[in-house]
């Protein structure tokens, strides 16, 4: 049974592919009914499916395909003209085939679909009387094997194969083949002799006979005699067509889908997607390691500048990074599927729709070989269906209207896919009546989707995007095709799910064009890293339009929203810190950066403190515990091993609507709260920063008498760390200028960056007396300058003055 399952799986994969192809080819055939080559190809495909399904004992499927094959065969011989009506029935039978295949996939049996009606119609078309008994679906193979030998005997009087040795079987096969060939010859002779018209599908010994002669005899037996007697003389079916057919049978056995150009067989293997996913994960890890290596290399370069080994290290790092990038692309390619897989179903859809809507629509497809990641291909199928349905229903006018407007009676929808940088663009154009921004707006108003004010401020592009809103519909009545106002919403959701962007352009009367811009892959993306305070965030580069450096007075507040002028537009702004609740510890500088995000027609300026750079990042999920955080799409691991969150631009746009403008100038409130009431001398805390132990001692001694609390630090770095920890609240600092690691000036500059220490007095205690030194001290924010040597009283009084020391505490 396992073996059976395996065969069944292969059969299903192949059959689904073939049916897809049938669909496509049949529609093409309708427009070029004389294309014999195409017709032959279709016939072969149908035949292959029939053969394989009979081999697996799917009688209902075999029965159906057989009758379809009959019709096709007649057409092939020119005895039947393929009219749209005939095509309807054939296409209907293809649909039935699809549902049968789905049922087989789910239940391993082909019961449950009633094909009899369709078969009757097929039979009538092919000239039968429509009296066709339906076979009972045979589920498991066991039952089938039981009656096989019997049937086999009926037809060929074959010996019992089960008891034969291998050699004997070989010999028997040989004998059978020869016998068949004889028969074929005889038949061909008969055909030439009698010119009479009867159809008989050529027996296909090559396909099944070699492996299992007993079974091969079965499919032909059951349905055929009822439709047409098999031994009857056959018309002028060309020998050429027949031999091709036999070739095809062999090809099909090698699991290569029947192709019209069947001279090259693709060298492929089927791989479980899970393995590719795993491979992709590993590559992701490698990319992270590569980023890390590059960072370390940079650090090393800085530290050991000019050393010889650096060059070697550099070489290795660049090779590793190069190979990693190549490897990543190569693995990505293994996951790529041609977009044609999705496009294939559209010719059929357009055909059905145009008949249903009584419009004349032609579909042109370009770039179906463009490749996309498998997971994305799966996501874009539905959106495309909805967009195309929309174009057919709302875009393309009826032939009469088109003629009246001086257009070609037949409307054209063109479906294009092409690469553009790191993205794939799928473009759907129609030459219909186009979108009218004003009508769209009034419709949206009517349905209460937007307010009057919004409508007034809406640009043309934004108005076009209204069709993507859930609940929006232009159709006056709900029809079979559209009008429920759901479809285009699906488009938006699905495209955004794959980080894609939708762009709509339209000109009234000329047509409209929808562009879907989709990233090549989902797992690894290019991102812009931005900094806010001490945090960093990654923004997918695909949604970044540009970055601008602005000064703070370029930001205006309109109705409690921040906005700025960007060339001729007004751009609404939001501070990334307001969205992600970032604490404003550091004072932001006079300038800020605005990252202009674009999503379709929507634009938003995101204010950040700094731009860190562009980096290739691997998207990792935050896991079950933290899933669904608004505005965060995931996380990535950076070169330094830290985690950086990835911004979800779609959600961010939504959040931004509800964020009120916050002044860029920091709140003074928090600071005043910090300077608490002093009730005793030890409430005053002073930090002493000096690298010399003696100097610290002298200062300590000078201040001890006042009773203030004293904290010591040996250099600037340590002082800064103590401040950051926030264990104490300092009232003043005594800072030496010359210190290792971080000198006094740098320390003072750093301290002034913190809002809460902005007003803290910094007192320089130094032996540097030069004028320029004093100037530098003032520049970096020092309020007093005490030169060594000094008297203990002087130091104490300076400190007391600066912290407003209350004299009553002095004992």
């Amino acid at each position: 049974m396992d073996e059976f399952q395996e065969i069944l799986q292969d059969f299903l994969v192949e059959a689904f592919e073939l049916v897809e192809k049938l669909d496509e080819d049949l529609v093409e055939l309708e427009s070029t009914p004389e294309d014999l080559e195409l017709l032959n190809g279709i016939f072969r495909v149908a035949h292959t499916i029939k053969g394989a399904s009979s081999f697996l004992n799917f009688d209902v499927l075999t029965h159906l395909t057989h009758h379809m094959e009959d019709v096709l065969n007649k057409a092939r011989h020119g005895e039947l003209i393929i009219t749209p009506d005939v095509m309807d029935v054939v296409l209907e039978s293809i649909d039935l085939m699809k549902s049968l295949l789905s049922i087989i996939r789910d239940t391993s049996s082909d019961a449950g679909v009633d094909v009899s009606e369709c078969v009757v119609r097929l039979d009538k078309i092919s000239g039968g009387d429509g009296d066709v008994p339906t076979p009972v679906a045979s589920a498991p193979i066991i039952e089938a094997t039981l009656d096989e030998p019997e049937e086999a005997k009926e037809e060929e009087d074959e010996p019992d194969y089960d008891n034969m040795s291998d050699d004997d079987v070989e010999a028997e096969i040989q004998r059978l083949l020869e016998q068949r060939q004889e028969e074929d010859k005889a038949k061909r002779a008969a055909k030439v002799a009698a010119g009479e018209e009867v159809l008989a599908p050529p027996p296909d010994p090559d396909e099944e006979a070699p492996s299992e002669p007993a079974k091969a005899s079965k499919p032909e037996k059951k349905p055929e005699p009822k439709a047409e007697p098999i031994k009857a003389p056959v018309p002028r079916a060309s020998t050429k067509a027949k031999s091709m057919n036999d070739d095809e049978g062999l090809d099909a056995k090698a699991a290569a889908p029947a192709k019209r150009t069947n001279n090259t067989v693709d060298q492929t293997i089927r791989v479980d997607v899970k393995r590719l996913d795993h491979l992709m994960n590993l590559i992701g890890e490698l990319v992270l390691a590569k980023n890390r290596l590059i960072k370390i290399n940079d650090d090393v370069e800085e530290r050991y500048e000019g050393e010889e080994f650096l060059e070697e290290l550099n070489q290795v790092v660049s090779i590793v990074s190069l190979v990693t990038t190549d490897l990543q692309i190569a693995v990505m390619k293994t996951r790529m599927l041609p977009i044609g897989k999705v496009f294939n179903k559209f010719p059929r859809m357009i055909r059905d729709l145009s008949r249903e809507l009584n419009k004349k629509i032609e579909l042109t497809i370009k770039g179906e070989e463009t490749e996309l990641d498998k997971s994305i291909v799966e996501e874009i199928g539905d959106p495309l269906v909805h967009i195309i349905r929309n174009s057919c229903d709302h875009g393309i006018e009826t032939p009469e209207v088109r003629l009246a407007n001086g257009k070609n009676e037949t409307g054209t929808i063109s479906l294009k896919a092409y690469n553009e940088g790191n993205q794939i663009v799928i473009q759907i154009d129609d030459d219909g009546k186009g979108l009218n921004a004003e009508i769209l707006k009034s419709k949206a108003l009517e349905k209460g989707l937007i307010s009057e004010k919004e409508a007034d401020n809406m640009g043309e592009k934004e108005a076009f995007m209204l069709i993507m809103k859930p609940g929006f519909s232009m159709a006056a009545a709900v029809t079979n095709v559209s009008g429920r106002g759901v479809g285009m919403d699906v488009v938006k959701t699905n495209i955004e799910k794959v980080n894609g962007i939708i762009d709509i352009e339209s000109e009234t009367g000329i047509g409209s064009s929808v562009k879907l811009k989709i990233p090549l892959t989902l797992a690894i993306i290019q991102a812009l890293l931005v900094g806010v305070q001490e945090e960093a965030y990654a923004i997918p580069l695909s949604s970044v339009l540009e970055t601008v450096r602005i000064s703070k007075d370029e930001i205006y507040t309109v109705e409690s929203r921040s906005v700025m002028r960007l060339r001729d537009d007004v751009l609404s702004l939001v501070h990334i810190g307001d969205i992600f609740e970032v604490e404003r510890i550091l004072d932001s500088s006079e300038h800020a950066y605005v990252v202009v995000l674009g999503l379709g027609a929507q634009k938003l300026g995101l204010i950040v403190d700094s731009l860190v750079g562009q980096e290739e990042i691997v998207i990792k999920s935050l896991g079950e515990y933290l899933k669904g955080i608004e505005g965060i799409a995931g996380a990535t691991i950076r070169g330094d091993g830290g985690v950086t969150l990835i911004v979800d631009v779609v959600a961010l746009m939504d959040i931004a609507k509800n964020v009120k403008a916050t002044s860029m100038i920091s709140d003074q409130k928090s600071e005043s709260a910090l300077s608490r009431e002093k009730t005793k001398a030890s409430d005053y805390t002073i930090m002493i920063v000096d690298d010399s132990k003696t100097d610290r001692m002298i200062m300590r001694k000078s201040l001890e008498a006042t009773g203030m609390s004293l904290v010591e630090a040996t250099d600037g770095q340590e002082a800064l760390n103590i401040l950051k920890q926030g264990d104490h609240h300092f009232d003043a600092m005594l800072i030496d200028i010359e210190m290792p690691r971080m000198d006094g000036y740098t320390l003072a500059t750093e301290i002034k960056k913190y809002n809460r220490y902005k007003t803290m007095p910094l007192i320089a205690v130094t032996s540097r007396t030069g004028k320029s030194d004093r100037m530098r001290g003032v520049e970096s924010g020092m309020v007093e300058y005490i030169t060594k040597p000094y008297s203990a009283d002087y130091l104490s009084s300076v400190v007391q003055r600066n912290v407003n020391f209350k004299s009553e505490f002095l004992s």
Binding site: E285, L288, E535, I579, F580, E581, V582, K620, S621, L622, G623, E624, Y625, L626, I629, E630, G631, I632, A635, I637, G641, G642, V643, T644, L645, Q725, D727
Partner: protein
Amino acid sequence: MSDKLKQVLSKQSKQQQNESIDQSDDIVQLVGFIIGEEEYAIPILSIQEIIKPFTWTRVPQVPKYVMGVFNLRGAVIPLIDLRLKFGLSEKKHSDETRFIVMKDRDDVAGFVIDRLTMAIRIKKGNIGPAPDTVNGDNTMIDGVGKQEDKIITILKVNKLLERDF
């Protein structure tokens, strides 16, 4: 002689079996740790690893006890402060602070604890149910382990790893 040997061997193996049954059946191995003043414990098998604190990244829009996420050898893992989760005040990390990485099936998270105590072997019989007041499905307490001089609260790892916001 060989019969005797067999007897001895079979006896030994029986004893061994009995012992192993004893161990797996009656003894629970726990790891104890301190949060605030209390000692808590979780089953040793639900601990993936115990690490010293290192940098993490804050995550917005979560309760305060979710400190953020950190990188554990390439995996992004949430970090939860048990002090805050248990309603205690925030405390600076010290030398004794540890991250305990716990797992329950596919769920993994790091938990900040004040300090580790020790690995505890405790008889099942010495574990009582959680006090009635905190009983029910929603409690994080699995039971109370009695030792000679103290009692230890045993926590439910799956409850700790459950998102409750």
